[in-house]
Symmetry: C2
Subunit: 434 residues, 2 copies
């Protein structure tokens, strides 16, 4: 069985099924098609499936032309989960969010497993790519996949291989980012390695699915903690009359042992603010408390409040309240040059300003209309920035430093700039660092 | 005045005075001599001065031949502080430790300033290289240097330029590590930049002495926090049956956004465990609490206890108590391939084992005899490791993973290895990860 599947993968005759055609599934599907595989893309969202089959990517950094070419070459998207049986490899790329008590919400993963279970057959490999706590594959995937009698490592192969997508990163893509793979058995690892070797330049096998799960968490935990640290340092430096951005730049000249992280208005996106708490939750089962994660979460979540305080003080220095004045936000996605507003600190800050009675508007070339979000609602469209519009705002808050902004124009015409990204390094009377 | 000094520096006619001929002062003195300057090396330790003048370095990684050559070419060491008046540049490289309440002990800095003050004259530049809190140069150096009437930035130039020595680093040396410089005035910065440009490949000017002070602290704070984080992750991973070293190695394959830090038996050396608390102390003046620093300190300081627990449990599994048994420590310096035992966690662990009644011995090719230390006293010399010696110990504790150790021999003959450095990645019945 193992040899048959390995040989299919090697000859690119295997059908790759990707479940969850979002920001992870889409580029992965394109990559498999581009190296010669037939790919089935599964999604529960019928509108998205229709759009994809019509050659329209739902992601800004994936061109429609690339999606259309993939559809022409061998990608078929579908909502029909029974077609899982046609796939030799099943790769799950579904969300793993937190609920409002910061507990893991594995419902997308378990519902996917339950949905595919009736259609599983011998000779398939099932891989989970969603970020999750150590033990998920063994505790949640394995029992569901083997419930019908298939034996893991013999009939069916179970692996965990975390996605490492970095939207907006111009230096690395799906193929060139090394891929960690852990298998439930050694045969599972062998098949998982073959599955990804077919499409990814470098595959890194580890000794267990747990080790692979922990690897992805450690990457994002380190990032959350380092951002938390530099945010705390920003507050200290600010009080001491020191520019933290200058300090980080200077420290970054050390050619070893230092990595530059920059402070900001908070922590955003679907990974860094969320993933670490998957470990926090699981660690409790062992009676352990993940203190760095908690501290980073606490400090990072407080940053929008910090920026708000700077805004209120700067307005106050100009004898203005926040209530009733015109606050224009520049950039509302969670990081620069992307269109993703999930968990964006800019949006949290917009909420805070609105709660205080400020009149909120925004400009973001990547987000033409404020999207539907679970927790936030603004009936707004992106405004064009002109000299007049900038001059009319009581304050502009630079929340996301997109390359597309005309920073010279902003500096020239804005009455007051609250700069949370260190974009304006030289002192100016209308710039307040936040 | 400025032009005269700049010209002397440019023509290498300036005399460089270095105060504190330790692990920072010695390589810096050698570098200035090697680029053609005359150097006066000041130290309060007459024995060390005599040794240096006789061509004997006190530091393992500086060869006696290099020191002897420098003495022959233009380095003179002295205890006579009145000769400061002969120096055009005065570079202070003295220790900045903590007292037992973890408060900054600036006595070496202030005593140096008071000692040199009577011999200062117009046309000199004074640079502090010791790691310290933001504000030290303005608050402690400036008043002492200008007490006799010299005007800073006009008669005398005051700069802060943190040392970035990394003993044992084969890739970078004094000349190739970029040097941060902050000046009290713009003329001070100009002179300071010229002083270091003469000897260092790349000089990085920053806007103030405070910014330069903060830069060095941020570098070491980031390191302390990241080591604290991975030590906490080690404890969590261990309980989950995951090998943290495998996980760090796997995460390090991510080509962006992750830096590998490895756990260990604690945090050692004269910088990383100490420097961060300089900021903690100063931040209190501003009503701020540096929580990441405190947390990292707490976790890192607890690691020797964690290793002790692993040792006691492993002995217990072999039906042995710790009291009365033979514990051989491998490596007692604070990091590998160096001879420095300051703040070494290995030494703290030796103390703990002795307190519990264990019989303590050690082997360290870099530390032939246990040195005199302020807080620790062991009347021990380094033992040779032989098959018989290893087999005789009830446990060997790998505390510092020097390259010089014969790890195959240790694995073959030791009854029990407590490995705190992840040196033995494959499971073996006599290896316990700690």
């Amino acid at each position: 069985m193992t040899q048959t599947l390995l040989s299919k993968l090697d000859r690119r005759e295997a059908v790759i099924g990707i479940v969850g055609m979002g920001y992870v599934g889409q580029p992965l599907a394109l990559r498999y098609v581009n190296v010669g595989f037939r790919v089935l893309g599964f999604d529960i969202n019928a509108d998205r499936v229709a759009e994809l089959n019509a050659g329209h990517s739902s992601i800004e950094h994936i061109a429609d032309a690339d999606m259309a070419a993939a559809i022409a070459r061998g990608l078929t998207c579908t909502t029909d989960i029974s077609r899982i049986t046609q796939a030799d490899a099943i790769i799950m790329c579904v969300p793993t969010p937190l609920n409002k008590y910061r507990e893991p919400d594995l419902s997308y993963v378990t519902q996917t497993c339950d949905a595919i279970a009736p259609y599983l057959r011998a000779g398939q490999v099932v891989s989970l790519e969603s970020t999750t706590y150590p033990g998920t594959t063994e505790e949640e995937i394995l029992p569901r996949v083997t419930a019908g009698g298939l034996v893991a490592g013999q009939d069916i192969y179970i692996v965990y291989s975390p996605e490492r997508e970095d939207p907006g990163n111009a230096d690395f893509n799906t193929a060139s980012i090394p891929k960690i793979v852990g298998g439930h058995t050694s045969a599972c690892l062998e098949v998982g390695t073959a599955l990804y070797t077919a499409a990814i330049d470098r595959v890194v096998p580890v000794s267990s699915t747990k080790a692979a799960e922990m690897t992805k968490l450690l990457e994002n935990i380190q990032r959350a903690v380092n951002i938390g640290l530099v945010n705390e340092m920003k507050i200290v430096a600010d009080r001491m009359g020191i520019d933290i951005f200058e300090v980080v730049d200077a420290a970054a000249t050390k050619p070893f042992g230092f990595s530059a992280y920059y402070p900001g208005p908070g922590l955003g996106g679907h990974c860094i603010p969320i993933d670490p708490f998957y470990l926090t939750w699981k660690a409790r089962e062992y009676g352990l408390h993940t203190r760095f994660i908690e501290l980073a979460g606490e400090i990072n979540q407080r940053m929008p409040d910090y920026v708000l305080g700077k805004l209120i003080r700067a307005l106050n220095d100009r004898s203005k309240p926040l209530a009733g004045v015109d606050i224009l936000f520049l950039g509302i996605s969670y990081k620069k040059n992307v269109d993703d507003v999930r968990e964006s600190p800019a949006v949290q800050l917009m909420e805070l300003v609105r709660e205080h009675g400020g009149r909120v508007s925004y400009s973001d070339p990547h987000v033409p209309r404020f999207p539907q979000m679970r927790a936030h609602s603004f009936d707004l469209v992106s405004e064009e920035i002109s000299a007049a519009r900038l001059a009319a705002a009581d304050a502009v808050v630079l929340t996301t430093d997109h390359d597309a902004f005309d920073y010279g124009l902003i500096l020239e015409h804005a009455v007051l700039i609250i700069d949370s990204r260190g974009k304006y390094r030289d002192a100016a009377p209308n710039v307040v660092r936040a």
